[in-house]
Symmetry: C2
Subunit: 197 residues, 2 copies
């Protein structure tokens, strides 16, 4: 509606998962309905930007050199490393409480079609890390798609020859789901991943 | 994960339509994936906050005293005033191209249960505006719910005695919708609003 309003809407629309309408609603909220929230959001954003960085070991968010998970000695004692695409995947696994080892966040997945090669992923310290931390199991928690598959293949080749067992998380029917409402891709994954009962 | 990260996530979660997971994704995007976007969003936000204000006449967003719609003489010549709850409603109607008069944005609706009375709505200049602009038709484009109904009732009483025709937008089946998938409330509205064919 006005240049400054539209500039803010455009900037908000760049956030993941935010469309034209949501950005409009947010801009109205910040500029007309809760003007004090605009200042607070801006302050919090700049302060977080100043403090938060990527963990030097694993790529998780942290405010020190290494994140709390990497600093946790008990986590290292499992000698297992779980590779995820994004920090949000790490957070989701943490929330599930199903894993107590360390992580490695790639910040992406291999995608030649989008010009994402190994050099664009957080892989510079990966191999030395696997050796230094004496990783025994590498758990690939990457997406169930072509790029996820390609990334798994690449990582497996990277650690080949070492004493590392590589596994990939299971695919199939989500918890609580029925076959009736599952899409074809999920059903194919589930059938491919069938196990003796 | 870290205090500054959590503070930003909490602040983003306050935006309309943003849940815990979306706020997490946005925070990761702004702090790790696109750190330059954080600065830009903060700058745009502060600049927009500085420039954008509420139109003194209608409550729409603007950067001057009055918004471009209120300043448009042609808009005034229709002598019709469309009352909406939020600026986003105004924007949606503008986008439809179905109306070319002026607006009045209430920034809310009457809701005694939430403690929202007439004094909390943008109504201070409403009556004098209706008189001064010689409004002939007041179109109430308020929600199809109890609070919308109460607000329509209140506004109708406000302009009673004057030479103003009051109408309320139609309710019923949305464009392209079928009876089969409409909810009971919509079907009730549609039946109540039936017209001779």
């Amino acid at each position: 509606m006005t240049p400054a309003f539209e500039a803010l809407q455009k900037e908000l629309k760049r956030l993941p998962g935010v469309g034209f309408r949501s950005a409009e609603r947010m801009a109205i909220h910040l500029l007309l309905e809760k003007p004090e929230a605009a200042k607070q959001l801006s302050d919090t954003l700049l302060s977080a930007r100043e403090r938060v960085r990527s963990c030097a070991s694993c790529g998780n968010v942290c405010e020190e050199e290494r994140c709390s998970i990497c600093e946790d000695v008990q986590r290292g004692e499992s000698f297992s490393l779980c590779v995820v695409e994004h920090v949000s995947d790490l957070m989701a696994i943490e929330k599930s409480g199903a894993y107590r080892g360390r992580y490695h966040v790639l910040h992406g997945k291999l995608s030649p079609i989008n010009g994402v090669g190994p050099e664009n992923l957080n892989l510079s310290g990966f191999e030395s890390r696997v050796k230094e931390e004496g990783v025994k199991e590498l758990i690939l928690a990457l997406p169930n798609d072509v790029e996820g598959e390609a990334t798994c293949h690449y990582l497996t080749e990277l650690v080949e020859g070492g004493d590392v067992e590589v596994s990939r998380i299971g695919f199939g029917l989500p918890s609580g789901a029925s076959v009736l409402y599952a899409d074809s891709g999920t059903l194919k994954s589930a059938l491919d991943a069938r196990q003796r009962y």
